[in-house]
């Protein structure tokens, strides 16, 4: 859906590049069907793969009976008991509903629903400050929908805050309304079927209302541990987060029971990490290897309208760990070449490399805000894994013309106070 939104932007650009096209309307239903069909084909693909690998697939909801036995309940209600030597819990999480807000459950939807809507969500209020909230608000805006994001305190809390504010600044400039420091009080349905949301501005204590077609909650996710009857197996969870406690081998408090992915405590909630953790665990269980998962320097990308790719430490984390005196931050505001013809605003296109100050200046973190951020960041993540230093990166010849080359051209440090705007071709 992010791609659909980006394509809308590209249609706009296209006319500047000579294509005789007027900005067309967007048909949500057509997009949703195409996206949903692809997802269904992936469902199918996975089923086939399981079959090919001779994995028995049960469409059951499982819970523990005892440490070695699980009870699986089918859609029809039939129960089956299954026992195993090893059990891996990978139940993930589901979006949280803020049930303390009146009407939240009855009238709001979550990311579980948005991708499956057959009809356009219309004017939408997204509540939350996570990347889920911003990504959804981002593509909804890009598809031409009136979109508001309500953030209680700071956006993208776990990320570098300078980058987070550039991300939201970009969204605000490009049509998403952002309400900062507000929190909803209640959601009511009006006679015409629309939703009325009442919220309070936490600073002024003033109340306000707004009318929306859809309210999308993106206020965090809860691990799927409640229905598992973990206590029957003796598996312990973190009482605050409800996530399952695991060690470096992904083992729970019960030696033969493991947990991977979003349901495990202290793990980054990312697909590729879960995939790799699962694979390595399986290899260890079959005694094929003893490799443990390395959760350090996991790269990621936030797919907001202007994408943010990052790997390693945020500037705040680096300073906290090493002290401001021992950290050097190189940065640049750049303009993607493709932006010039359609005169796109590049004010938030920004790169920041956080290094140790001491030569050879080991790279601690890289932050890239711009188009195709994921593609740009992946290779550099590998560089960091190889122990790249600022010297290494600077000695790499740039590929011209790209945005990624700007990383290899970072010269201005924050400490110097010089203007970090890139000039010249």
């Amino acid at each position: 859906m992010h791609q659909a939104a980006l394509l809308g932007g590209m249609i706009h650009d296209a006319s500047h590049y000579g294509w005789k096209v007027a900005q067309p309307p967007h048909d949500w239903g057509k997009m949703a069907e195409a996206v949903q069909n692809h997802v269904k084909s992936l469902n199918w693909g996975h089923r086939v793969q399981l079959q090919d690998r001779k994995v028995k697939y049960f469409n059951f909801k499982a819970s523990f009976v005892n440490p070695h036995m699980v009870c699986g309940v089918s859609k029809g209600g039939e129960e089956t008991l299954l026992s195993a030597d090893h059990i891996v819990i990978a139940t993930g999480g589901r979006p949280r509903y803020p049930t303390h807000i009146e009407g939240a459950l009855e009238y709001g939807i979550t990311s579980d629903d948005i991708f499956w809507l057959k009809e356009s969500p219309g004017k939408t209020l997204v509540v939350g400050a996570s990347y889920v909230a911003l990504e959804c608000a981002g593509f909804l805006t890009g598809l031409g929908l009136d979109t508001t994001v309500m953030i209680r305190s700071v956006p993208l809390r776990a990320f570098d805050q300078q980058m987070a504010s550039l991300v939201t600044e970009h969204m605000a400039v490009h049509g998403t309304r952002i309400l900062r420091g507000c929190t909803p009080l209640r959601v009511e349905r009006l006679s015409d079927g629309r939703l009325q949301v009442t919220w309070v501005d936490l600073a002024s204590d003033k109340k306000d209302t707004g009318t929306f077609d859809t309210v999308l909650w993106a206020v965090g996710r809860v691990p799927e541990t409640r229905g598992l009857n973990l206590e029957k197996a003796g598996v312990r969870t973190n009482p605050n987060t409800q996530k399952i406690l695991v060690d470096a081998q992904e083992a729970t408090s019960v030696p033969h029971i493991y947990a991977i992915g979003d349901v495990a405590e202290g793990r980054p909630e990312l697909t590729p990490t879960a995939i790799m953790a699962g694979r390595l665990l399986a290899q260890r269980l079959c005694s094929r290897s003893s490799d443990l998962m390395d959760y350090d320097n996991v790269p990621t990308t936030v797919f907001t309208p202007l994408e943010y790719g990052c790997v390693g430490l945020s500037e705040e984390e680096a300073v906290a760990r090493h002290g401001e005196e021992r950290v050097e931050v190189y940065h640049a505001y750049y303009k993607p070449l493709e932006f010039v013809v359609p005169e796109r605003d590049a004010s938030q296109c920004y790169i920041k490399m956080v290094c140790l100050r001491e030569p050879p200046q080991l790279v601690l973190g890289l932050h890239f805000l711009g188009p195709n951020a994921g593609e740009v960041t992946q290779g550099f993540a590998l560089g960091i894994k190889c122990g790249a230093s600022y010297q290494h990166v600077m000695r790499t010849v740039g590929i011209h013309p790209t945005c990624a080359e700007e990383v290899a051209k970072l010269r201005i440090s924050k400490r110097s106070g010089l203007d970090p705007t890139v000039t010249g071709c």
């Binding site: 659909a4 249609i11 296209a14 294509w19 967007h26 195409a34 992946q378 990624a404």
Partner: protein, 599 residues
């Protein structure tokens, strides 16, 4: 007791002599010294007390110190250090220098004003030339840049900043983007955008927008030169005698300038076929980006990246495109990737005529059309075709013929037209240097020229007399860091090259292509690892969208010693194309299927 001096080959001797003369000519005071030598210390102290900046080469601290000492003795008849030069005059050793100081001769020598108009004149205001000039100016030198574009046979000309900005990287990428946007329009319908089915492209709108941007770059470069106090002259520069050039402007007016040092950064221009009608009827990349009319049905002659990139975007804009290739595509690139590039272009409708060359004549066919007769390179077959435009992209020739190099003895490679330089960019004439495409053995890329220009200026004027270390990595556009897969050769007593390499590869289907229903087996990723070196990644190739953005980071990682293990240990960013490199499993040698399942 005399130390044994290393035997120098005559070529090496000549080379060293040239370098030393370059140093002596280029600095006010040069002291050849040894760090532990007390006489050298006295001399250094003397100049320091006089407040005079010196360039000091400590012979005991450089690898070729003994050779330097030997060649110095040939130049000066003095074998020992310290050996002092003031304004190119050899003063002598420690005793003679103090004598000269006492008698007042030293002060006279020091007072001599530089006899040249400029410290540095750069001929050619492109990527390499401008970077060198600006860096030299930043180091406080008086610098001039001469740049004048000789109009193409079709009459096209442009402003300052060279090929990249005016008729290369920049307009090329923008036209490529225009073509990609055309594809995006097609994709967008599948994503729910109600675009009309047949969207037409207007060539003039595009070129106008692109030229507007190019013009703004010309102006911003001129501004930068002014701000850095670099004298920019829109004139054609050529040598008339040592240290002197003649600058001829567009009106034919001639002015003369002198400089202590020169940098030749004149780059290249497209080559013509050398057959009747070629200059009259054909265009090149020099003309394409500002062509005032749509090129229509185009024949692209050539197999270079320029040829394929132009053919690619012309097809993407909806034009009928044919590419005529005499032999190999993308010579110098991994040939498997080159073939994949070609077949992906064929999927877009580009027609390839392989192993043909245009024959003797090009002539006007019906109004607005050109008739091209071509003959096969492998037989007697002849073909004929009618096109609106013929675009020649068969290579580029260095601009070294008409700049008076023979007048001052700068050696040029007769065959290639390029200027051979040593590892400090110095030509056969000590005070003349060269950077960019005009240099023999230099990879023809903007960032390479820019970096070379900058480092050269620092070396010449930053006071540090070191060689540049560090290799430049070959980085190319579509398929990237290249290490050609060797042809499998069998020999009874030596291991095959191929067996020392492990190639991992996969086809992949970008997520954005799924809903757009684009082919699932076009995009391809390949890495080449050295088994001898812990499966170190020595080659990286990707065919797919955003290849440049993907490759850059991997280039940096390869510089840090990337291995297959590290790739496997790294988490992919999901969902991207780049992440495919973190999950490569299939080796070529296994022969296993890498086809992706489509819709």
């Amino acid at each position: 007791m005399s130390a044994a001096y290393p035997r120098l080959s005559s070529a090496a001797r000549e080379e060293l002599r040239r370098r030393l003369l370059g140093l002596i000519e280029g600095h006010r005071v040069v002291i050849f010294s040894k760090s532990y030598c007390p006489h050298s210390a006295r001399v250094k102290e003397l100049f320091s007390s006089l407040g005079v900046d010196c360039n000091i080469l400590e012979l005991d601290q450089v690898d070729d110190g003994a050779s330097v000492q030997e060649v110095l003795s040939e130049i000066t008849n003095q074998r020992t250090v310290p050996s002092i030069f003031v304004n190119k005059v050899h003063v002598g050793g420690c005793d003679r220098t103090f004598q000269a100081h006492q008698s007042g001769v030293l002060q006279k020598l020091l007072q001599e004003d530089p006899t040249y108009d400029y410290d540095l004149i750069v001929i050619g205001g492109g990527s390499g030339g401008l970077s060198c000039a600006q860096e030299a100016a930043a180091l406080g030198r008086r610098v001039m840049v001469l740049d004048l574009v000789v109009p193409s046979p079709q009459g096209t000309s442009w402003g300052v900043a060279g090929t990249c900005v005016n008729v290369g990287c920049v307009p090329k990428k923008l036209m490529h983007q225009a073509a990609l946007l055309g594809q995006a329009l097609t994709d967008s319908r599948k994503f729910g955008w109600e675009c009309s089915q047949q969207v037409k492209h207007n060539w003039e709108t595009m070129t106008e927008a692109i030229q507007k941007h190019v013009g703004s770059l010309n102006r911003s470069y001129q501004r930068a030169l002014r701000e850095k106090a670099v004298a920019y002259v829109n004139s054609y520069g050529e040598f008339v005698e040592h240290h002197k050039i003649k600058a001829t402007n567009g009106k034919g007016q001639e002015t003369y300038y002198t400089a202590a040092k020169f940098v030749i950064a004149t780059g290249e221009r497209p080559r013509y076929l050398g057959i009747q009608g070629d200059k009259e009827y054909c265009i090149t990349s020099d003309d394409l980006f500002s062509l005032p009319y749509c090129p229509g049905a185009t024949l692209v002659v050539g197999a270079s990246s320029v040829a394929l990139e132009c053919a690619g975007f012309l097809a993407g804009l909806g034009l009928e495109v044919t590419v005529m290739v005499s032999s190999q595509l993308l010579r110098g690139f991994d040939q498997e990737m080159a073939e994949k590039v070609a077949s992906s272009m064929q999927q877009l409708g580009v027609r390839f005529l392989r192993k043909f060359v245009p024959l003797q004549q090009l002539e006007k066919g019906s109004p607005g059309k050109l008739k091209v007769v071509a003959k096969s390179t492998e037989g007697t077959e002849m073909i004929e075709g009618l096109y609106n435009t013929v675009l020649l992209a068969i290579g580029r020739d260095s601009c070294t013929k008409k700049i008076g190099l023979e007048k001052i003895g700068v050696k040029v490679n007769e065959k290639t037209g390029k200027i051979p330089v040593n590892d400090v960019e110095q030509s056969s004439v000590p005070y003349v240097y060269a950077v960019g495409d005009v240099v023999e053995g230099q990879t023809e890329l903007t960032p390479v020229a820019v970096q070379a220009g900058r480092l050269l200026a620092r070396r010449l004027f930053g006071g540090r007399l070191e060689k540049v270390t560090g290799t430049v990595q070959l980085v190319q556009k579509l398929s990237s860091l290249y290490k050609e897969e060797p042809v499998k050769r069998r020999s009874p007593w030596t291991p095959t090259l191929a067996s020392l390499l492990q190639v991992y590869h996969t086809l992949f289907w970008p997520l954005e292509w799924t809903v757009a229903c684009r082919d699932s087996n076009t995009c391809y990723a390949k890495i080449i690892c050295s088994k001898l070196d812990n499966d170190r990644v020595i080659g990286f190739h990707v065919l797919g969208p955003k290849a440049g953005e993907i490759t850059q980071g991997f280039a940096a990682a390869m510089k840090c010693g990337l291995t297959k293990q590290l790739l496997d240990d790294t988490i992919g960013i999901h969902p991207t194309c780049a992440q495919v490199f973190t999950t490569l499993e299939t080796t070529k040698s296994s022969g296993l299927d890498i086809t992706q399942k489509g819709c």
